[in-house]
Structure formats: C-alpha cells, structure tokens
Amino acid sequence: MTYRPADLAELREAMVQSAAVGQLLAVSGAGTASQWGGRPEHDAVLDTTAMSELISYNPTDMTVAVQAGMRLSRLQEVLAEHRQWVALDPARGATIGGIVATADAGPSRHQYGGSRDSVIGMTLVLADGTVARSGGHVIKNVAGYDLGKLLHGSLGTLAVVAEVVLRVHPRPAATATLAVPCDAAAAFDLGGQLITTALEPAAVEWCDGTLLARFDGTARGVADRLARARELAGPAATEGTPEQWRGVDRIVLGEQGDTVLRLGTAPDRTPSLAADLHRLAATYAVEAAMTSTLFAGVHTVRLRGGPAAAHAAVVTALRQTYPASTVCRWTPDLEHEITPWGDPPPAVSLLRAVKRRFDPDDRLCPGRFAPWL
C-alpha cells in the first residue's frame, strides 16, 4: 500500500497509522534515488510527491519555504522569475526532500556546498508521528540543534522530511565556462591555479577527461576571468558548452544496466582514483567514466558493460583504497555480489545511537545502511 499525504497533517496521520500496525515504511519522493545505499524492506510506501506546494517566498529576504515533495526543477522555475535560484544543481530530477535525504548536489557544490548548506530550516516527522521543527526562516540562526543537518544524507532512515526552508541566491548576470581536455592530475593542478589566482570559479569539475571551470558574475568580470583562465590553461583550452556540462549529468544518472558509485576522498587523491579506475576497468573489461568536483573531493563513477561480477570486482577494489563510497545504481544481480557501502565511518556507533533514538522500532527504510545500522 501507499500513503500519499498532501500536507503536514496528513503526513503525521500516515505515520501514526502505520505505527499503530507496525508497518515498515519506504520513504519515496520522485523515486530517483530508490536504489541509493540499498533498497529498504517495506510493507508500505510513504510517497511525498503530493506535498509539492510552495509555502512562502519572499525574494527580498532570499528565503523560500516549500513542501518536501516539490521538485527542485519546479522550484528553480519559480525562483527564476525573480532572478534567483537555490544553489543546487544535482543531475537527478528529484524532490527537495529527496535531495536533502540523499545529500546530493552537483558541480556548484564547489562554491555553494551541498544541500546542507542551502537548508536553513526544516520540519520533519518521526516514525511515531512527532512533528519537529528546527532552524527557521533566517539565514543566520544558531538557536537549538540543526536537525536539518542531521537529516542530510540520512536516506529516510531517521524521519520524513516534510517542509524545507532554503536560502536562495541571486542568479549571476553572466556565466561562462573554460573547457580543457586533460587528465585528472593536470586538471587538479590547473583548477588549483584558477582558485589561488583568485579567479573565483563557481564550479571546477573534471568530467571524463575534460576540466570544466565555470565563472559567474558580471558580464565584464566573467569575460575578463575567462580570458585570464584561458591564458593559464594554454592553447588546448576552449569556451565550454552546456552540452559538456550535461556530460556530468549523464555519468551521475547512468542508464539501465549501469553501476553508479559515489565516492568522497581528499581532493588530491583524485588523480590516483582516476588512474586506479582506468586500470581496473581495463583489467575487468568494463567501460568506466568518472566525474569529480575536484576541490570538494566528490566523485561519481559509472561502470557500463560486462557482467555484475566485473562491476563488483571494480567496486571492491576501489573501496580498499577509497572506502567512503555508496552504490547509487546497481547493474542487475550486483546486489548479490557487494554491499551498498564501504567500510563504516569511525562514528558508526553514533549513527546507530541516533537511529535508535529517532526510530527505535526500525520502521523507516530498514535495510538502508545495512549492515551499519
């Protein structure tokens, strides 16, 4: 069965009802991350997509409140009417709640961070129906614990995100991209130079053999910085295209039959990760692609072709060196070969303690984070 609440009261009611009969719930938004970090066992689905309304938007305050089931793309359309945006550009056509719960972000994480950095307030509903708010509608606020941060990356296992207040930013007057075909090591060096020479790139992504650096600002300022960046980069540099940025999305999303892995490493591990991936792909005869937000140390690897065992071998080998990893898309049968996660983080006992306090009956998305939780 599926609960599909339209507002906070109905969501709370769904939680209370399901608690009364002890149902295990899978929390779902647009369904774009249904495979992330493992598929939860469930008796019922809690679908938030009917909670898709704009709650309040005051452009001069640069804050917006939405129901969690609103799609980010829809919100960006609303904000664009006032030349504003939420500084998030994940590849998925996900809901706001889903993006927070998956800790997803896109290349703009270089300048703006992830969804944790845009969320300034949240209303959440616990498995027992408790409704809790934290944060508020102002960007500067240190009153109480930031439960919005806690929910970031929790994949629906602690509570259901009901409403979110976000900080918005002005859309830049102009934007331009530098594109430089190069390997990961050269991309990391050049990206570092762009940053330390104060050219202020808004995004520095190495995507499948090309460095993409985006500059946002005034028309004159962007033109000047792009010209200086091209000087630094040398003759191979060109002005990048929107199509090149869509290449990032294609790797992150993958297609039916692909395996997609998200990894976090110290930024300077990027060249070795790229080299290891290339070597492993050759060894196991799979096609590999990778995109990295270089100075955030966030990488997405896509594996294509070959049997599940080959994908599993590549993922397992990568994890020996780069343990902070999550499987986000599974090639068929891969679930029988590997777990969704690498080694647990040092604070895994705290993760368990928090889970026990928030969802003592383990009703929310059980199986996700297994065997950590």
Binding site: V131, G144, K149, L158, L263, V298
Partner: protein, 487 residues
C-alpha cells in the same frame, strides 16, 4: 570545593590522571573560570582540568563519566551567552593548551588545527599561501576555533561566506563517555548522517572537539569598502533591502545607528559622521571588474535611498579604520553607559526597517536608550540596551531587552544569530520552539550523551535554570532563601 568532590575521590583520580600541574583546585585561581563573556552569571567550578592532548581530554572525560561528574569545555571564554558557564559540582576542561596548528595544506585548501588556536591565527598561518579562513567573529583575535565550532560562530562576512558549519570538513571529538571519534571527513561527501553538521553549533552539549580540519579560501583579488550615511535608520534599512534585491551579495553590510556612532566617536579615531542618524558599512570583495561594477551599483542604490554622504575607503588603512570603529562598537558603548544588555536576535532582512522602528518606539516607552550596531545583511541585530544600575533602571532594561528578543521571534526570526543560546536564553527557547521540537532535539543529545554530563543546563530550558531570569547575576530565589549556595 564541594564535599561531593572529596567524598567520591574523583578529584584524586583526575589529579593522578593529568598530574597536579594540570589541574586547578585553588579557590582563588578557580575564580578565573567562573564566567565567560556573559559576566552576569558566575559559578565557580569544583576544578579545572588543563589537558595538553586529545588523550588527556579523553582521560579527563573518562574520570567524569566514571563518577557522574558534569564537565564544561572552555576555550578563550569570549562567549556572550554563558555557554561556558561552569557547573558548581563539575569541572571545566580548558582547551587553552591544545593550540597547535598541525598542518596548513594549500593543495587541499584546508588546515588542521587544535581547538585552542585563535580564529585569526588560522588566517595568519594560511596567509603565506594566499589563503585565509573565512568566518571572522569580531573577537577573532582572541576567540578560539574550538569555541567557534561549539557556537557555529559567524561575524561580519557571513552574508557571503557562510558560518563555521560551512567551513569545517572534519572534527575529532571526545564523546561524553570518553571515547574519541571522528565526524565528517576530507571530502564534502561522507556516507551517513551529517553528524558533524549537527555537532557544530551544539554549544558543547554533544562532546568536546579536539582537532578540526577547516576549509581555506583564496584571498579575494580586490576589496572595496564604503560608509554611507543616512538621515533615518529606516532609510538605511531600506537601502540594505534594495542592495540585496538588486542581486548583489556584499562581503558585509553592517549598520550603526547614531548612538553607536557617538560611542565609537568618543573612543577611537572615528571615520564616522558624528551627527548622522545611521551609517551603513558595505564591503564588496572578489574579482576586480565584478567588484568595481557592483560597487558603483551599491553607491547608486544608497543615493537613491536617500544617503546623505558616501565615504569610500581610499586605501587599506582607511578600510582598517572603518572596521576598527565597527568592531570596537560594543566596547565603545560601554564607555557611554555604565551598564548595558546586548541582544543577538535575527529578523528576516525585509523587516529590518520595521524592527528598528519598533525598537525605537519601545525604547522611548521604556525611557531608555538603545544603540544598534549589527550585521544588517543577514538581519542579525545587536541592540544594546543602555541603563544605569545605580539609578535603579535594571529591571526596566532587562524587560526591554527580553521584549526585543521576543519581537525578533514574533517577526519570524530567531533568538540568536551568533552568540548562542547558552545559559542566557535557554529559558526563552520555548518562545521559538514547541515542546516536540525541543524533545526531538533532546533525542539527539541523548544519543551522544545519555547521562547529560556534557555542558548541562545550556541551550535547553531546565526547571532550575528557568527559576532564574536571563541577564546580570542576581541571587537565585533558593539561594536568597539560604537553601542552595553558589560557590
């Protein structure tokens, strides 16, 4: 010293663990730690531990955990909300001796530091690489990064650059049972709940941070700073709204009203116009062309909003004078009024003019002066309620101060933008959060610290604490009746 301490023997264990040179028990020396920057509350702790390493912090905490002794971590003690107020039958764990800058890593754009390092020293260490640490509270010369993590500190440049939580990648923490763990990691993506994000700003109630990896940014290529005078406070507030509405995100927008300007003028080499009703300090930084174009735009906006005079800093020395006046404003107000309360509420930016107007009217009604000096760009007010204790104005001033804080919540804002809730505003939390909100936050606290030993009495209202009203020290009713005593 409490009889509890002697009876249990925990102090002997602490002395044996850390060595007598690293534990303070002398009553006179303990008084150094009786309060933080909020001097109205004073509690002498039973002992102060001065560990020199993570292992020693953990050892001290384990002694506490073993005996049920509450502990309070303390950095430089610059907090303004009583967050580091000791517990009479507990210990203070001072992090002043953990002050090593372990590494500046210009390749990964980060630095690894111990909690007792001052905020400014991180930027100093990063400067040779053209890098700096962005969050900069006014107290950055003395406040420590450990305290910044506890309070999620901000400062003037938060509008553009964010807060401590946006600039910390990883933290080693000692939990309430004395175990050491790591939250976060070297990358923005870490599998699992964002425990680091929840820990930052928890005001020392979830554990003690012993090592911090902070992000470093490249120093901006160009900076422009100006002071724009306005004939009315509301006019300055409207200018702030107009600047932001134009899609410009300055590095800082600060406001001083006339009383604050007078105070600054009386005590420093002031660049502010003595008789203007309000002044806006606007700073833009970034690539030169972008800054130049937007700086012109900001000046046009200020003139259109009725600015009577604009002074642009001609060089770094003039810029420093502007900031010197702004950052010295709290101290300066202390020179024109024998006593004052400082508030730290936040309002949605669009309501700045309204809230300033209402504060003015409330001050008139109370027959008191309120000086305003604050971070206008993000709506973080610092109304200073001036009063004279000797003239019996205390209660009136305290009432006005509380009313201003409540007004901020009423207008959709927050009780605190950067000073924290601490001891000072714990009793006001129910004004902003409901019972279920607070109970859910306490579930998180219980997961970290089930026995409640870690900085108890802060952030959340407790019955005993709320028997005492916020503000300067006065005896608790039970204390006055001789039932309890404060050591």
């Amino acid at each position: 010293m409490t009889s509890h301490a002697i009876d249990t023997g925990w102090l002997a264990e602490l002395l044996a663990t850390l060595g007598p040179d690293n534990v303070i028990t002398d009553p006179a020396r303990l008084r150094t730690y009786e309060c933080d920057g909020l001097t109205g509350y004073r509690v002498v702790p039973a002992a102060v531990a001065l560990p020199r390493s993570t292992a020693e912090v953990a050892a001290a905490v384990r002694v506490c955990a073993g005996h049920g002794i509450p502990f309070v971590a303390r950095g430089a003690g610059t907090g303004l909300s009583g967050g580091a107020l000791p517990v009479a039958d507990g210990i203070v764990i001072s992090l002043q001796r953990l002050r090593r800058i372990i590494e500046v890593d210009p390749v990964n754009l980060c630095a690894v530091v111990e909690p007792g390092v001052t905020n400014l020293d991180i930027s100093r260490a990063a400067a040779p690489y053209g890098l700096y640490y962005a969050p900069n509270p006014s107290s950055q010369q003395v406040c420590t990064i450990g305290g910044n993590v506890a309070e999620n500190s901000g400062g003037a440049h938060c509008l553009k650059y964010g807060f401590t939580v946006n600039h910390v990648l990883e933290a080693e923490v000692v939990l309430a049972d004395g175990t050491v763990t790591t939250l976060g990691g070297p990358a923005q993506y870490q599998p699992g709940f964002d425990l680091l994000g929840a820990f930052i700003g928890s005001e020392g109630t979830l554990g003690i941070v012993t090592r911090i990896t902070v992000r470093l940014l490249a120093k901006p290529a160009h900076v422009e700073t100006m002071v724009a005078d306005f004939a009315t406070v509301a006019g300055a507030g409207d200018a702030v709204t107009a600047i932001v509405a134009a899609g410009i995100v300055p590095a800082a927008i600060e406001m001083l009203d006339n009383l604050a300007i007078q105070a600054v003028g009386a005590s420093t080499h002031s660049v502010y116009t003595a008789d203007t009703a309000a002044a806006l300090v606007v700073e833009l930084d970034g690539p030169p062309d972008d800054v130049a174009e937007q700086f012109d735009h900001v000046q046009r906006i200020c003139r259109a909003q009725g600015s009577t005079k604009i002074m642009v800093a001609a060089d770094p020395a003039e810029r420093a004078l502007i900031w010197q006046g702004r950052k010295a404003a709290f101290a300066a107000v202390g020179r024109i009024s024998s006593n004052y309360f400082v508030q730290d509420g936040v309002v949605p930016r669009g309501r700045l003019a309204e809230v300033l107007d209402r504060i003015g009217a409330m001050a008139d009604t109370a027959g008191l002066r309120v000086a305003n000096v604050f971070h206008a760009g993000d709506g973080n007010l610092h109304p200073l309620v001036l009063y004279c204790e000797a003239d019996g104005e205390h209660d009136r001033a305290e009432r006005l101060s509380s009313e201003i804080a409540e007004l901020c919540v009423e207008l959709g804002g927050s009780l605190s933008g950067e000073h924290g809730i601490g001891t000072d505003k714990a009793c006001s939390m129910p004004r902003m959060f409901g019972e279920d909100d607070l109970a859910t936050m306490l579930r998180l606290r219980a997961a970290f610290d089930p026995d409640g030993l870690c900085n108890p009495g802060k952030v959340f209202p407790t019955p005993r604490l709320c028997g005492e009203r916020p503000g300067p020290y006065r005896p608790h009713p039970l204390e006055a009746a001789g039932v309890i005593e404060r050591l």
